[in-house]
Each structure stands twice: as structure tokens, then as C-alpha cells.
Amino acid sequence: MAETFDDLRDLYQETILDRGRHPRHAQRLATFDATAKGDNPMCGDRVQVWLRYAPDGTIAETGFEARGCAISIASADLMADSVQGRSKTDTAALFAGFRDMVGSGVCPACNPALQQLAPLSGVHEYPSRVKCATLPWHALLAALESTPGNIEETSSE
């Protein structure tokens, strides 16, 4: 049946559908070092991100709970994969690259991590959907900046 959906699949690639339906990281971490919430008032998307750090301060594990569209859930899930083992600066740099990619649709200096996130680049045609893709990242960055014990709230607006 897949072939009859070719016209729908250009933006909603299999990865997005799959990750949207069956995210691998969609859970609250049993123990965590930081957490933050994000919401997109425009569409009601909501996400909370939990982080556990490795001894060297890099991200050891990311979990999330999200209510929202396939794009935002898939983006959260792919993000959790791609930031593992990264430092705060590293993560911020990756987000900068990601934001450029989903804003423009192109990825001029695409490293493997960005490549992994590339299925989301199609949203550049929909500025209002770009916010769905970046929302989990905003929450993640807020968590990275947070003082332990606090729950930061951020908005993709």
C-alpha cells in the first residue's frame, strides 16, 4: 500500500511516521539531573525533557513526554538519539545547525548527526510547523541551563 502514499510521504518520511508513532525515548527518566518543559501556545504542543549526565558532564540519557503532532514527537525522539554523549556547547552547536536546516530546508555543512535529523528538514516550507520541530530542543536547552531541582518553562514562540 505504501506506493499510493508517495504524495504524502515527501514531508512525512517513514522515519517521522515511525518515530512519531513509536518513539524510543518517550519516558520520564527514573533518575535525572535536569528537566524542563516547553510549550507552543500556537498549537498546544507540550513537551517535558529529562536529562541524566555522565560523570564528564556530557549527556548520558534523554527522556521526554510530549503531547503534540508527529513532527514534534519525532523531533524529540531523534534529538534524544543525537545529543547522547554531547557536552552543553556541543548540543547548542548541533541545535544551531538543526535550526538552520529546518528553517532553510538545506544543510550546507551536514555532519552525520545533522544527517540523522535531516528527515525533519521538509518542515522549512511551514514556518509554523518549524516550531513543532524546534520545541523539544528549546526544552532541552532550558534543561541544560537549569539549576538542579528547578523545572524551567520555555516556549517556542
Binding site: 500500500m1 499510493t4 502514499f5 504524495d7 504524502l8 515527501d10 514531508l11 512525512y12 511516521l17 512519531g20 508513532r21 500556537m42 498549537c43 498546544g44 504542543d45 503531547r67 503534540g68 503532532c69 508527529a70 513532527i71 511551514y126 510547523r129 513543532c132
Partner: protein, 409 residues
């Protein structure tokens, strides 16, 4: 199924409907957010800019006098459309949001007293909520919410009960919900409110597009709407109110044209409607709005209402058959607005996938978050119909939705 006028011919009036989106013909089902503009409106604005334009009211030269005539003719057209008693009851604003804020400021702060209450319904647009919240917080007026039932109809018993203590000064309520399509029982609302000494304002942003509105027959006190949803330009809205109410209301915005005389010590105000129209008005937009009103009236609201009823019935019938699809809003009396959700797909994903097939629907909270909370939803997808919408377009929507549902299976 027959439609009461020749939609194909109507569509020829709208150049934009010939556009394609990614190679697919545009299926524009977002008229409830803003309607497309017929040739008559485009031409009227172009003709003004090309042949007859100047500032109005302060004229003395030919171009100014003639532009004033053209602009003031919009007031006559609108007065005729609404069956206002007098043209001076028509105040032009920049949008229905502007009209609602004008009333919330001028009537709300000038006439309503702290301790009085304003009723809105559970299915209002933010434009008919936030100005009253500001009034509540700044002026000490209470805000009461008229609840709706599960069909999306006003609970009239609960509505009447809100008047129990005699504090209600104003009911500001939608005449037609932009999410559920519900047309509220205007006559009954007015009777109840007036029996309790309260005034009634209808937010007619949606209603005026779908049926004839006669403010004298409705017997209401205020009626507001906006040009861009009635096939007119953006940047112009309408406030109708009874003359004696307008006379009693203090001005809202200050500036040119709304004064009778100005000294630094004291200024006096012009007569209505000018008292409420500070500054250079939306001249070109008034001229465009007149063309829109004339064009709509030439088609006639009987035909429009029948056409939209046919479209809505067809849409509900077709969409109801799609597995996993829920239609929100099942009011008896309703207009051409159909909100729905799919069980397996978020409304935003639905809207994006429809868009890739050339179908424009809206998804989100539709500026009615409290209603979403009442429905227990974050968002819905919403298809809204205009004069130019065809039954075939609704079939395309239904067929594509069926495929989207399968895609997300």
C-alpha cells in the same frame, strides 16, 4: 443535489481560485479565517487608487469630496445590509477585534459600573474574551460564562440563571461559533437579557457571512463584524449600535475627525459616528467593503444560506463516514464551519498533509482556547465554506482525509 446558484460562474469572480498548490488545484476551505476577494472588490479598490483618491471629510476639492462620497457610501451600504435605523449607527473600525475593544473600553468603562457583570459564552473567540478580562481586571466588572452543552449549543437555562442577581449589564456573545458552527438563538438571548435589563452585543464575525442580519428584527443593542470575512478587504471592521447608546458612550480613541473643537484646555466631540472614528479612516478599505456588500447582496442571502447549508450537510454526511473521525459541534442551527479530529493523527499533521494535496484547512485552537478546554482538546482541524465552495471540493476533502487516516494507521 442541486445548489441554488451557479457556483462555477461565481468562481469566475475569484481570480485566486484558479491557482494551483504544488500542481494541485487550490481547494480553499479556510474562508472562516478570511475569505477570498471577488473581482468587484479588487476593481473598486484599484479604481479608487487609479482615478479617484484623496483624504476624506476635510476636503474642499473635487478628489476629496468625491472620495468622501465613495467612503460614506460604504456606510450606507452597511446600514442597508444590517437594516440599521440610521446610517449614523454604523461606526467603522479596523476589525471586529477593534469593534469589540471599542465597546469594552467606551461602553465598558464609560457606562458599566464596577460590580456589574458581563456575560460571554463558553465558545467565544479570544477577541470576545480578552477585552472583557482586561475590563474585569482594570474596572472591577465581573465576567460570567454561559455554558454550552455537548452538542455545542448554549445551555439556555444556565444562561438565564446567570441573571439571577440583577448585576448583568451586558451580554457579549457570538452569533455563530467559528469552531462549532453553532448559530446561537439570538432572539431568545435578547429577550432574556432585555427582561433582566441587560444590553446585548453579538459578535457577528462569522454569522454575517452566512445569513441576512437585521439588527432591528434581532432587537439587539450592538452588532460587530469584519470586512475580510465577508469577501472584503482587511483593515476594516464594523460596529453597529443603537443611536442612543452611541450618543451616551464616551469616545475611545482621540485624534483628527472625531472632534468638534480642540483647545489645550478642553476638547468637544463630533456627532456619531465620527466621534468614534479618530484619524484618517480606512478609506480604500471602505470603498472595497462597499463593493463586497453590494456583491454579496446581489447574490442574496437566501441563496447563500441555502448553498452553505447544502455544503455543510454534505460535509457532515461525508466526514461522518470516515473511520476514526470525530466531528465537533452538532448544533441544530449551524453555519458552514466543520471542526473535526482524527484518532490516529494530530490536527496539525492532518492540515499539513491536506495542504500537500492543495487543500487549505486550518488546525489549532482557532483562537478559542477556553472552548478547546471545554471540549477536552488541544486542537481541531477545521474546514469552512464560502460562496465559492463546491460539493466536489468537499468530496476531495473527504477522500483525502480517508487516505490520511490510512497513512497514519
Amino acid at each position: 443535489m442541486t445548489v441554488p446558484f451557479d457556483v462555477a460562474r461565481i468562481r469566475e469572480d475569484f481570480p485566486i481560485l484558479r491557482q494551483t498548490i504544488r500542481g494541485k488545484p487550490l481547494v480553499y476551505l479556510d474562508s472562516g479565517a478570511s475569505a477570498q476577494k471577488p473581482r468587484a472588490v479588487i476593481d473598486a479598490m484599484v479604481q479608487a487608487m487609479e482615478t479617484q483618491y484623496a483624504n476624506v471629510h476635510r476636503g474642499l476639492h473635487w478628489m476629496s469630496e468625491r472620495t468622501t462620497d465613495a467612503y460614506e457610501a460604504a456606510r450606507d451600504a452597511v446600514a442597508g445590509l444590517m437594516n440599521a435605523r440610521d446610517r449614523s449607527e454604523i461606526v467603522f473600525t479596523n476589525s471586529v477585534t477593534g469593534s469589540l475593544n471599542l465597546v469594552a473600553h467606551s461602553y465598558g468603562r464609560g457606562i458599566l459600573k464596577p460590580g456589574q457583570a458581563v456575560i460571554v459564552s463558553a465558545m467565544e473567540h479570544h477577541s470576545n474574551i480578552v477585552p472583557w478580562q482586561m475590563l474585569r481586571d482594570q474596572h472591577g466588572v465581573e465576567l460570567r460564562i454561559a455554558p454550552i452543552d455537548d452538542n455545542g449549543e448554549l445551555d439556555m437555562q444556565a444562561f438565564e440563571a446567570l441573571f439571577h442577581d440583577g448585576k448583568v449589564g451586558l451580554v457579549s456573545i457570538t452569533h455563530m461559533s467559528n469552531v462549532l458552527g453553532t448559530v446561537t438563538p439570538a432572539g431568545q438571548i435578547v429577550r432574556i437579557a432585555h427582561a433582566h435589563g441587560a444590553k446585548v452585543m453579538f459578535d457577528g464575525a462569522q454569522a454575517i457571512v452566512h445569513r441576512a442580519v437585521d439588527v432591528q428584527a434581532l432587537d439587539c443593542d450592538f452588532y460587530v463584524w469584519t470586512g475580510h470575512k465577508l469577501y472584503g478587504p482587511t483593515g476594516i471592521g464594523v460596529l453597529w449600535a443603537r443611536r442612543e447608546i452611541l450618543d451616551a458612550m464616551p469616545p475611545f480613541l482621540g485624534g483628527g475627525d472625531m472632534i468638534s473643537s480642540v483647545t489645550f484646555e478642553k476638547s468637544t466631540w463630533a456627532q456619531v459616528p465620527h466621534k468614534f472614528e479618530a484619524g484618517t479612516p480606512a478609506i480604500l478599505e471602505g470603498i472595497g467593503l462597499k463593493a463586497a456588500v453590494d456583491w454579496v447582496r446581489a447574490i442574496g442571502f437566501d441563496a447563500i444560506a441555502a448553498h452553505e447549508a447544502a455544503l455543510t450537510d454534505h460535509a457532515i454526511a461525508r466526514l461522518s463516514r470516515i473511520e476514526g473521525l470525530t466531528i465537533h459541534g452538532r448544533a441544530q442551527d449551524r453555519g458552514g464551519v466543520v471542526s473535526f479530529t482524527l484518532d490516529k493523527a494530530h490536527a496539525h499533521d492532518v492540515a499539513t498533509l491536506l495542504d500537500r494535496q492543495g487543500i487549505a484547512v486550518r488546525a489549532g485552537h482557532h483562537c478559542a482556547e477556553p472552548l478547546m478546554q471545554r471540549l477536552g482538546l488541544d486542537s481541531t482541524a477545521r474546514a469552512t465554506f464560502g460562496i465559492y465552495t463546491t460539493l466536489e471540493e468537499i468530496d476531495v476533502l473527504a477522500d483525502t482525509l480517508t487516505r490520511v487516516r490510512e497513512f497514519f494507521q
